[in-house]
């Protein structure tokens, strides 16, 4: 009964059934409940809008801009977060000195910086990338920092007893130990990067899915708003999936990675 393979198969069937129900409810639900199409456009209308936007509104171009910003923000933010995480993890004094400011910056809602960055850098892609960097930075940095801090001191002593240098201890012990928590941070970061970019695009500019979103809102074009939301979800989903795939490759040595495909 509780054979894992049966569980996976039953789970997949249930999941697909839910999708069909959801799509059906989207298509016929608004009409049945008397909700006007400018409030909730049915599925077929959104699909038509998608084709229209693809042909006449440069949907692919705007998606490409958003993807580029998400990628740039995510990669730079993760690198910066990891770098600072390792540095602070290895220097308790630096962490002590900087922790109140890091905490303050972490509490401050990062998306609130978007208007400021646009004032500084104009209606370019840079303020959007910067918001994404800032928002991705924290989960990665905090996870790396905690991981470096929590390395088993006996492991470090073992390496030291073999006369390991500081560099060897980092590359052979601390860096690999930090991989699982770092990937947990990257997962969070990959979805947050999309949030950062969209907020930046909503605030100002004439490119990207966030722009399309606010354009649709201005035109009271509800289907276009829906199309933008679907595309943004897709972008975030692919980014998340990319991290998961990389994680499976890197952390292949961890037990029971394959069982329970839970995300």
């Amino acid at each position: 009964m509780s054979d894992p393979r049966t569980q996976i198969r039953n789970g997949t069937i249930a999941s697909l059934a839910l999708l069909v129900i959801f799509l059906a409810a989207w298509q016929w639900g608004p009409d049945l409940l008397g909700v006007p199409t400018f409030i909730v456009p049915p599925l077929s209308m959104v699909a038509r809008e998608f084709v229209h936007a693809w042909q006449f509104d440069h949907l692919l171009f705007h998606t490409g801009v958003t993807v580029g910003e998400v990628l740039a923000g995510f990669i730079l933010g993760s690198l910066l977060g990891a770098l600072i995480g390792y540095l602070l993890g290895m220097s308790p004094t630096a962490e002590f000195a900087l922790s109140p400011y890091i905490l303050a910056l972490q509490i401050a809602p990062k998306v609130a910086f978007a208007p400021l960055f646009i004032l500084w850098m104009g209606f370019t892609v840079y303020p959007k990338i910067l918001v994404a960097i800032l928002i991705v930075f924290f989960p990665v940095m905090v996870n790396v920092l905690t991981a470096v801090r929590s390395v088993d001191p006996d492991l470090i002593n073992l390496a030291r007893s073999f006369k390991a240098t500081r560099t060897q201890i980092f590359w052979k012990i601390e860096f690999p130990t930090s991989m699982p928590p770092m990937f947990a941070g990257l997962r969070i970061g990959s979805t947050l990067a999309v949030v950062g970019v969209v907020v930046g695009e909503l605030v100002g500019g004439n490119q990207g899915l966030g722009y399309l979103l606010s354009f649709g809102e201005g035109q009271a074009d509800t289907p276009m708003v829906f199309v933008s939301i679907v595309m943004l979800t897709l972008v975030g989903g692919i980014a998340y999936l990319g991290v998961i795939i990389a994680e499976r490759q890197v952390l292949h040595y961890l037990p029971s990675r394959s069982a329970g495909q839970g995300l």
Partner: protein, 270 residues
């Protein structure tokens, strides 16, 4: 009984103080500990919890400097980690991202031994501990006993003169422990390595060593030395059948005041 064998490990008047939790006074963990271990000798160190046994091990391996006194390995003062000494703990400390072979090579890799030689040494020890077929596996695939044997192989692969063993088998079940004790005893005898074995298990101390040192409560110091005059140091299972083992254990219990004050139970069920 002065043997003509060279002294491998020596502690001379070693005292160790730590700052206590409040940060004011100092807490003396060990006081005026002096003893030496000759080449090829296995010495067990027993004593109540917190008497500073592990501190002695850290001092011997050069990870911690003593507050007073000195430790010597091969006649040279221990000033930091050195290639003559290797230690092994209760925890196997295998790296989960390395295969068993890569784990066994860890020490020699850090010491800069060329890859071919590293592999040769690691494979030799894996074979002698019956782990050859698991060399490509990751640690989580192996049982606790196998992991501990891999840890021992890693310790021996650096070819140290002195092994410092801190309760190496206290985390495995009783049957596995006996097998591991036999493997260790055999290896120590065959390779002629010198070892200092910290243990809570009195029977382990008696069956594996040439000599047992008893330490007092904190501040720990050596209060007794018992020479184990029994055959089969390379086979603890055979040694267990010697009737005198029980006399030695009883004497150690007496010296540790077991039955009067409560010392913590030996790790795991015996």
């Amino acid at each position: 009984m002065a043997l003509a064998r060279v002294t491998r490990l020596e502690y001379r008047d070693v005292t160790m103080r730590f700052a206590d939790r409040t940060g004011h006074g100092a807490l003396t963990a060990i006081r005026n500990v002096s003893f030496s271990v000759r080449d090829g000798e296995v010495v067990a160190l027993i004593g109540p919890s917190g008497c500073g046994k592990s501190t002695l091990l850290n001092i011997g391996s050069g990870l911690t400097a003593p507050s007073e006194g000195q430790a010597f390995v091969d006649g040279e003062r221990v000033a930091g980690p050195n290639a003559q000494v290797a230690f092994m703990l209760q925890k196997d400390l295998l790296l989960p991202w390395r295969t068993i072979l890569e784990n066994v090579m860890f020490g020699v890799e850090i010491q800069g031994v060329p890859l071919a030689e590293r592999k040769r040494r690691a494979e030799r020890f894996l074979a002698s501990f019956n782990l050859a077929e698991f060399s490509g596996h990751y640690p989580h695939h192996l049982s606790g006993g196998m992991r501990q044997r891999a840890a021992l192989a890693r310790t021996l692969a650096v070819d140290p003169h002195v092994l410092l063993l801190d309760e190496p088998f206290s985390a495995v079940d009783a049957q596995t422990r006996m097998v591991l004790q036999r493997d260790l005893a055999r290896t120590l005898k065959q390779s002629g390595k010198t070892a200092l074995l910290i243990t809570h298990d009195l029977a382990e101390a008696v069956t594996l060593s040439d000599r047992v040192l008893v330490m007092s409560h904190r501040p720990g110091t050596v209060i007794d030395e018992i020479v184990i005059d029994l055959p089969h140091r390379d086979d603890p299972i055979a040694r267990r059948h010697e009737p005198k083992v029980n006399d030695y254990v009883a004497r150690l219990m007496d010296r540790l005041d077991i039955g009067h004050t409560g010392i913590e139970a030996p790790g795991g069920a015996a």
